[in-house]
């Protein structure tokens, strides 16, 4: 405490003496934030590595360690107050369309409250990502998405590091390996696997694990990663993201763009709710209305672009407020179809209450999906049963999710047969691969993720407002070193927010020939006017440090 006071007083005196701008000013101590080693070993490791390289540039770097709960408070909700931080975007099926990432993360309108927490602001970039949104021709849109990625390489708003590989495993004596689906950017843990996996012997239940508890099974509440595995199976959607990462018709028999803002979807006529009632176009329209009712705040943003819906036989025509290329992925493949006869009174009642539809719990959730709800034992197990009447009925009999907070035990359970599909392993992937190598019954599959790890720069705070400075810092560390040291090889180097897993959209020139190293970074800094004086990096002449203590 006394030490702290003394430093504060000392630095106050110091800053008072240097108030008159000298020719060049020393850059203050730069903070970089990471989560603890115990919960995020890779992140902690690459942060230390990066801090070490930045110090070689003459920066005084301070690594701050804090848990996620505190991090979101200090970074996300305090946008003026931090310098740099390790950050992560996780892969989700709906992120298979590049819009969610390239628009939300960097568009200037999302800087104040939304995902652009770094405060990046480039009107040229804004124009590009707005344009791709309204360009319905895939090839033309692809060119724009690639151009946007190239612009990001130039601006280096973040220091992109790697797309991790997710590693899962299964017992190949229980499940026919040929029927396990490796979904692009997602891995083998996906709905397609759960539908198509063919049992080889007597065991016909998919028994898988999650280290997280199930929070809720609610089609109007995005409550957690594990929960979404369940809702994706119990509920149908008009479209689904296919194994190739592109949206394909699901509950929709077909769809057709009438013009730039009108799309007609034809509903399959062989669908039934789990309680035996038929699925009608009215149910579909109601599902989209419920999402936009205000009682499902997390789904609201996915239907705001819909101006009107009309029904004609089995056809539903959506009229949009403006052309929307991501509409198929972001809306049609996102909204769960829910039975009107169950949810209409619920929504009506919730409108009169302080709570919203997220608090509502059905004893038996009723959807129309390929699996029906069986049972849910708190913090222990969720059982789903195959819906034999579904047009895409699963080959397995049951889907049993075990909650296993002990990660090491989960791997042991896979070996001993207590589970037969390892669907969650937050630990070191090399352990899973090694286990599969020594046991011929196990197959491990690693897949490059849509998600990515990076270090974010706060553009609101100099010197991070200077692209040259960001470029130099980013160039100081070779990404292959990060992949090897922090991810033990289970990641691919990255210089673009669009993962190579999204082959159609990924701009491979972003990472090809990317040069890095401390010498290069030093040269870049010198070229931009930054100089090292007495071992410390200084601003270019005439720029004052405004944020020093």
């Amino acid at each position: 405490m006394i030490l702290l006071l003394r430093t504060t007083v000392l630095s106050a005196i110091l800053s008072a003496t240097v108030l008159t701008p000298a020719v060049a000013e020393e850059i203050r101590t730069i903070n970089i934030v990471t989560r603890p080693q115990t919960s995020q070993p890779s992140e902690f490791q690459f942060t230390q590595l990066i801090a070490q390289e930045w110090r070689r540039l003459g920066l005084d770097v301070n690594v701050q360690v804090m848990p996620w709960e505190q991090m979101i408070q200090e970074i996300w909700f305090s946008r003026e107050d931090w310098d740099t931080t390790a950050w992560q975007m996780v892969g989700r099926p709906e992120r298979s369309d590049p819009d969610e990432i390239i628009f939300n993360l960097f568009h200037s309108t999302t800087a104040e409250q939304g995902f652009n927490f770094i405060g990046y602001n480039n009107p040229d970039y804004d124009a590009l990502v707005e344009q791709q949104r309204v360009t319905l021709d895939p090839d033309a849109r692809r060119d724009i998405v690639r151009a946007a990625q190239a612009l990001l390489v130039e601006d280096q708003p973040n220091m992109m590091l790697a797309h991790p590989q997710s590693t899962y495993a299964y017992n190949n004596t229980v499940w026919d390996a040929a029927t396990v689906v490796d979904q692009s950017g997602i891995g083998i843990r996906n709905t397609w696997s759960y539908l198509q996996m063919e049992p080889l012997g007597d065991i016909t239940d998919i028994i898988l694990n999650s280290s997280d508890n199930v929070t809720a099974i609610n089609p109007l509440y995005i409550s957690g990663g594990t929960d979404s595995w369940i809702t994706e199976l119990v509920y149908d959607r008009l479209m689904r993201i296919g194994p190739d990462g592109l949206p394909q018709a699901w509950a929709a028999e077909s769809y057709e763009w009438i013009d730039d803002t009108t799309i007609t979807v034809t509903l399959r006529d062989d669908m039934m709710w789990h309680d035996g009632m038929p699925v009608t176009p009215d149910d579909v329209v109601f599902s989209f209305e419920a999402a936009g009712s205000g009682e499902a705040p997390m789904y609201g943003p996915f239907v705001t672009g819909i101006a009107d819906m009309t029904i004609d036989g089995m056809d539903i025509t959506f009229t949009l407020t403006e052309p929307s290329a991501p509409f198929l992925t972001a809306s049609l493949a996102k909204i769960n179809l829910i039975p009107m006869h169950i949810w209409e009174p619920v929504i009506a009642e919730q409108l009169t209450l302080e709570t919203n539809a997220e608090s509502y719990r059905e004893d038996v959730p009723i959807g129309s999906g390929p699996y029906r709800f069986g049972s849910w034992t708190l913090n222990e197990e969720v059982v789903l049963e195959a819906n034999a009447k579904h047009w895409a009925a699963p080959n397995a009999d049951r889907w049993i999710l075990r909650i296993v907070p002990n990660v090491e035990a989960a791997l042991g359970m896979l070996r001993s047969g207590e589970i037969n599909f390892l669907s969650d392993f937050p630990g070191d992937p090399t352990v899973v691969v090694a286990a599969a190598d020594e046991n011929p019954d196990l197959t491990a599959v690693s897949t490059v993720d849509i998600g990515f790890r990076y270090v974010a720069f706060n553009h609101r705070r100099p010197p991070f407002n200077d692209p040259a400075f960001r470029r130099a810092l980013s160039a100081s560390v070779d990404r292959r070193l990060i992949v090897g040291a922090a991810f033990r090889g289970y990641a691919v180097p990255s210089n673009s927010v669009v993962s190579p897993a999204l082959a159609f959209w990924h701009n491979e020139t972003t990472i090809e020939g990317m040069e890095a190293g401390v010498e290069l970074a030093q040269q870049m800094l010198a070229d931009a006017g930054y100089a090292v004086v007495d071992g410390r990096l200084n601003y270019p002449d005439g720029i004052a440090e405004t944020l020093g203590e």
Binding site: E69, Q73, I207, P297, E380, V383, R398, R402, A409
Partner: protein
């Protein structure tokens, strides 16, 4: 009549302790770093939506008012709604409490039955080779951390020999119509073996050593010498005369051990994927789910306070020399 006043006084004291616990819990969680915002409010929300949610959780009110609202609700038996699960806290806590109590009491009973007999035996064998091996062995088991012991048992008996399952309370997909059907099933007992064993091995040291030292005191007493002179068999002397008297402090320690055992439960429930209150508690603290964390702690505190009260009152029944008159 007097006894009733004494018991009434005890109950009043208990109520006061409870109020203190509730108050400390309430403020403790709110002074922790981190905010419920991080865990429950989607960053995509507009400021209005965030404010609405804060209001719904009552987090927009001044702290003292939140406290009195909480107290008022508690008096009506309402533990509040979990921020994270959007469910009544009481429902979750009551669903998980039996699992934790079963683990706690079966392991403690096992530990105490074993500890009492083994302690008496070691006292009787004072100075022998049995004691020279036995006491260090007990101290070693007492020094093993539960998570380590648990992982060891898992590695050997579950993954090595394949005798016991590695987690949960039942086989995957096994369904039971009632809780009672589950708790009386072989499936449940089979799943319970390793976690109970872990906790029992960890906690047998206290009753064992306590029993042993009490026995050594009692064995020196005149009435034991008297019994020996009478020519009674060693077994009768040790078990019927000495052990009964040495047992009293051990019984008191049982009530206190319940409280300690809960902390062991937190770890064992995680190691063995046991759906109990301990795991729920850890998760609630991590996510700053105040109502749930308070509810879970309160339930545990309630059990501990109750056990102390029972021990207090039972003491008189066990030992005629102690009265509440």
């Amino acid at each position: 009549m007097k006894a009733i006043t004494v018991i009434g006084g005890r109950l009043l004291q208990t109520a006061f302790v409870l109020l203190a616990v509730i108050t400390i819990l309430f403020f403790m969680f709110r002074l922790m770093p981190g905010s419920p915002l991080a865990a429950y409010i989607d960053p995509n929300f507009t400021p209005e939506q965030q404010a609405e949610l804060m209001a719904r959780f009552g987090l927009d009110q001044p702290l003292w008012r939140q406290y009195f609202i909480y107290l008022g609700n508690l008096l009506q038996g309402d533990l509040g709604e979990s921020f994270f699960y959007r469910q009544p806290v009481a429902e979750r806590v009551l669903a998980l409490l039996p699992n934790t109590l079963i683990l706690t009491f079966s392991s403690l009973i096992l530990a105490y039955v074993f500890g009492v007999f083994a302690g008496a035996y070691l006292a009787w064998k004072r100075g022998s080779v049995v004691e020279q091996i036995g006491v260090p062995l007990v101290l070693t088991t007492r020094a093993m951390p539960e998570f380590w012991l648990g992982m060891l048992l898992l590695a050997v008996f579950s993954f090595g020999m394949g005798w016991f399952p590695a987690g949960g309370t039942r086989a995957p997909g096994a369904e039971y119509d009632t809780m009672w059907a589950l708790y009386t099933s072989a499936d449940f007992w089979w799943h319970m073996t390793l976690p109970v064993l872990t906790l029992a091995i960890y906690s047998q040291g206290l009753p064992l050593l306590l029993m042993r030292s009490n026995m050594m005191d009692v064995m020196r007493e005149d009435f034991v010498t008297m019994a020996r002179i009478k020519g009674l068999s060693t077994f009768t002397v040790v078990i019927r005369h000495a052990a009964r008297n040495a047992l009293l402090p051990v019984m008191t320690s049982f009530a206190i051990a319940v409280g300690y055992q809960i902390q062991g439960n937190v770890i064992v429930e995680t190691v063995f994927s046991w759906p109990g209150l301990g795991r729920e508690l850890v998760r609630a603290v991590q996510t700053a789910d105040y109502p749930l964390a308070q509810g879970a702690f309160l339930m545990i505190a309630l059990v501990v306070i109750l056990m102390n009260l029972v021990a207090d009152l039972l003491y008189a029944a066990l030992d005629p020399r102690v009265t509440h008159e």
